[in-house]
Symmetry: none
Subunit: 541 residues, 2 copies
């Protein structure tokens, strides 16, 4: 039997059923791009026609030229009607997706209770809908809802549902443990039986985590012969979530010898998981298997000394295989190599054996301890490294800012900011309004800088994220702000941390503009053969 597994990601559809998860069309496009880079085979984008975000997604995703197949989700036709008249099936066809995921009932109890129709009509709904979509040239993945509950209650009927789907031309028959209540040994024995009941079927598995067994159930099904795995990044999904692809892919590939996304792309797993948690704005548990920040963190003293002798003593895989890294929590030796490699990328002379470099590493570690994160804030890290290398001359000195928000009943809220800087020996004092406090600060800061650095006009903020770091203290907690900025050619990310959201935003804003100007200046230096003394003076002395 083939050892190739088809990875079907439904983060953008079933994942968004998770409490607190809401993705805009832009978010969905960013995630689709990232999933494609990871090498998943199918990306289920949403339910066409259920809302305007999904319609926009299906339209725009076609322009991205992804390798993964895009699939649109929907139910089989309504009871007692015709497939070619069904509004939902029409929307799937109109979406332009190459594949359709059609969900149908396979539990007799559900046919009676939820659909309120006959077992025969349900089979006809499945057959007609699949046959119609196949006629229209789509690949069809059939999701048999509640397959295992159905099988336990009425095995003949559950199997007849799969057979009917196969007969209608479905490319994949996916067994769903919709309520998440099935145990691995049950999955294993049911899937094994199907080889004789439905030979030649391309079986898939879709599980939920209600018993904390979604990953185990998926592995069981694969070991019993399923060749498609449906799941989500970080296990997002309704109730307790869907099967977590970030745990399934490495176990299938590294431990069971299946081919999923290949060795090289597996190294992007940690980065993908963290990126998507940022876009979804969901806290990633530090103890998440394989990709969590603590997945290879060692605290116990004995463990640590053994780990330093041979990492196999307390690590089940090499963390780098999934793009993660070892962290030693007591004597912190980790992360240096990342900083060193980053500095080398920038062309900086940086060596962890020299004292000055060690000082920078200590400073970065201290900032991380305070809540800064440089994984998503490359520009702030570059500024720190250039500062440490003596390469930066500050473009301005900060004196003060004031920020006022005022709201009177029946009138719109007003935000004003006042910024005082010293630029090249001159006091610059500006005031500006904005439609929020950060916008007002951005406007006032820009107004001050543009007089001296006209290049600032070419950049703008393109993304702004706020994360409360220690939620236990509620409004007295620390806040981390991440800002993404763009000019015509580039985008860059900066970070600020404070107990005060305004101060954290200010920090990230200032870093963004410092970096923008640094880029402008470095660019000019490369463009002209003989830079003027003035230009050079801004970054070297």
């Amino acid at each position: 039997m083939s050892k190739s597994i088809s990875i079907f990601d439904t983060t953008l559809r079933d994942g968004t059923q998770g409490e607190g998860i809401s993705l805009s069309a832009d978010d969905k496009l960013k995630i689709a791009k990232k999933l494609d880079d990871l090498g998943v085979h199918y990306i289920e984008g949403g339910i066409p026609g259920s809302n305007s975000k999904d319609i926009e997604f299906f339209k725009r995703v076609q322009q991205l030229g992804l390798s993964a197949k895009i699939t649109a989700f929907g139910s089989t036709r309504r009871k007692d009607s015709q497939a070619d008249q069904d509004a939902n099936l029409k929307r799937i066809i109109e979406s332009g997706a190459q594949a359709a995921t059609l969900v149908g009932k396979s539990w007799d109890f559900h046919v009676h209770t939820a659909l309120q129709t006959t077992l025969e009509e349900n089979l006809a709904m499945i057959y007609d809908s699949i046959a119609y979509l196949k006629q229209q040239g789509l690949e069809v993945i059939f999701d048999a809802e509640h397959f295992f509950d159905g099988y336990k209650n009425n095995p003949e009927y559950a199997v007849s549902v799969l057979k009917k789907a196969q007969e209608a031309g479905a490319d994949w028959l996916v067994m769903c443990d919709t309520n998440g209540g099935t145990l691995p040994h049950e999955i294993s024995s049911i899937v094994t039986t199907l080889h004789t009941d439905i030979p030649q079927a391309n079986l898939g598995i879709h599980t939920h985590n209600d018993c904390e067994l979604a990953v185990a159930n998926t592995l069981s099904a694969v070991q019993a012969g399923a060749r498609q795995v449906q799941g989500t990044i970080n296990g997002y999904g309704e109730r307790c979530g869907n099967a977590n692809l970030c745990s399934i892919i490495p176990s299938l590939q590294l431990k069971l010898g299946y081919e999923c996304i290949g060795e090289e792309r597996l190294k992007q797993l940690t980065n993908t998981a963290r990126y998507i948690s940022e876009i979804a704005n969901v806290h990633m548990p530090i103890n998440q298997p394989y990709v969590g920040n603590a997945a290879f963190a060692h605290k116990g003293g004995i463990h640590v000394s053994a780990i330093l002798r041979d990492s196999r003593t307390y690590e089940h895989i090499v963390p780098e295989w999934v793009g993660n890294k070892q962290r030693v929590l007591v004597s912190d030796l980790s992360g240096q190599s990342n900083i060193v490699s980053k500095a080398h990328d920038m062309g900086l002379d940086f060596d962890q054996t020299n004292e000055q470099s060690r000082k920078v590493i200590d400073k970065i570690k201290d900032l991380e301890h305070q809540g800064y994160t440089f994984e998503a804030a490359d520009a702030s890290l570059e500024l720190l490294l250039r500062e440490a290398g003596g390469e930066m001359k500050e473009l301005f000195t900060f004196e003060s800012f004031k920020m006022l928000v005022e709201k009177t009943a029946g009138r719109p809220v007003v935000s004003e900011a006042f910024v005082k800087l010293n630029i090249a020996g001159n006091n610059v004092y500006t005031a500006a309004e904005g439609n929020g406090p950060v916008n007002a600060l951005d406007n006032a800061l820009r107004k001050a800088l543009v007089q001296y650095f006209p290049a600032i006009k070419e950049m703008h903020l393109s993304d702004y994220k706020v994360r409360v770091l220690d939620e236990k203290d509620a409004t007295a907690a620390k806040v981390r702000v991440l800002i993404e900025s763009r000019d015509i050619n580039n985008s860059w990310n900066t970070v600020g941390v404070s107990g005060n959201v305004i101060e954290a935003s200010w920090e990230a804003l200032v870093d963004s503009m410092r970096y923008a100007l640094l880029g402008q200046i470095l660019q000019k230096e490369r463009d002209v053969e003989e830079p003027s003394a003035d230009q050079r003076g801004l970054i070297n002395h």
Copy 2:
């Protein structure tokens, strides 16, 4: 074979190896009491002598008169020494614990690499230590570290370790998957083999979650014959955590027919999990299986209408069996049925066929379109529904607020807020500082209200989340703020949306306090038989 499973909790020992988990002696005693109420059979309290907290715990826990056996953890004697001279073994005896958990090596690689001794000396260390503790009258649980890795590398040696422990009188032989890298089918086949290799052994299982398989591995071992389960509440523990007893106990009891803690005590599971997460000061993931706040939460419209017909359609167990409850979320993916069922929960007369109810539904949909989300803001939704039902009289009228943040170089940032309200015909004007703008607003609003509604003192904000809704416009984008508040008995969630983070926070803050006071007033109405006209006037007119 017996269907009784011995539950061994190591939250207080292995659980505290988790990153960010630190428990005082008082915390440990509170947790031990709660675990005893839940009915676990063993409570591993810590490592006597490793620190003063653990010494204090073992001394004071004896006075609690718990039913569970208290067990003290330690390693086998040091190499090339005598058990009765070993400082760690002495401390276990002095701790007064009834049972000892002794960890020893069973992976030959570890004996060579970590212990740096011979295979024979390791066997002697195990034998001597167990025999010595048994002589002293203790029950001994032997934890065979890395048993499965050891078995895979050198099955004869791994088995000889268990045999040696049995020979020395160990009461339990516990197979540990210390690195968490073993898969369920491996556990199953190895444990099955042991029945012939070591007949009559009382086998136990101790797993870690590095592959998201700790629960599955535990179930596999039990199905293969293990009769003791070691784990922690909420799966706390080093790296990716230990096996989660909150998922294992209900699956063993409700799905596999084993006897663990009994039907009645199982109903305390959710409460125990949440209590311990509060004491440990660790955020509990809402999607945690069985006990999480979202474990039985339903968002999709079709799911909800089926759930209302028969909850078995989308629930694998009855939530009350584990002390949890069903929740119906309101969201853009859902239909009206969610709102109707929510209103019914509140005891409101609400019917989607009547015009007034349809108006509220339209209003809620419009607010959702603007970026509000009510799935995580029950209290704001309740306020809207009560308002629509004519049940709310406003407690105060908003006149204005001002919020000032000021930062001068070299000095800490200052946040001040000024709030003007009209309460019962009186103008109330307050000012307050805070360590951030929202904290300052909270303080000023509270200062105004407390003079008229002293009950406001009893509530506080416990969680604060910010989400930027449309990141394309960056600092000019819309912001959604979610606030969780608590008093001694309850917690509730409110939402605010605005282009201005301060205004959004203000909205959520005001809703939180309105809801708190509503609760106080409804409570009073229920408590007194004849409510005074004044009290009634606040919510009815």
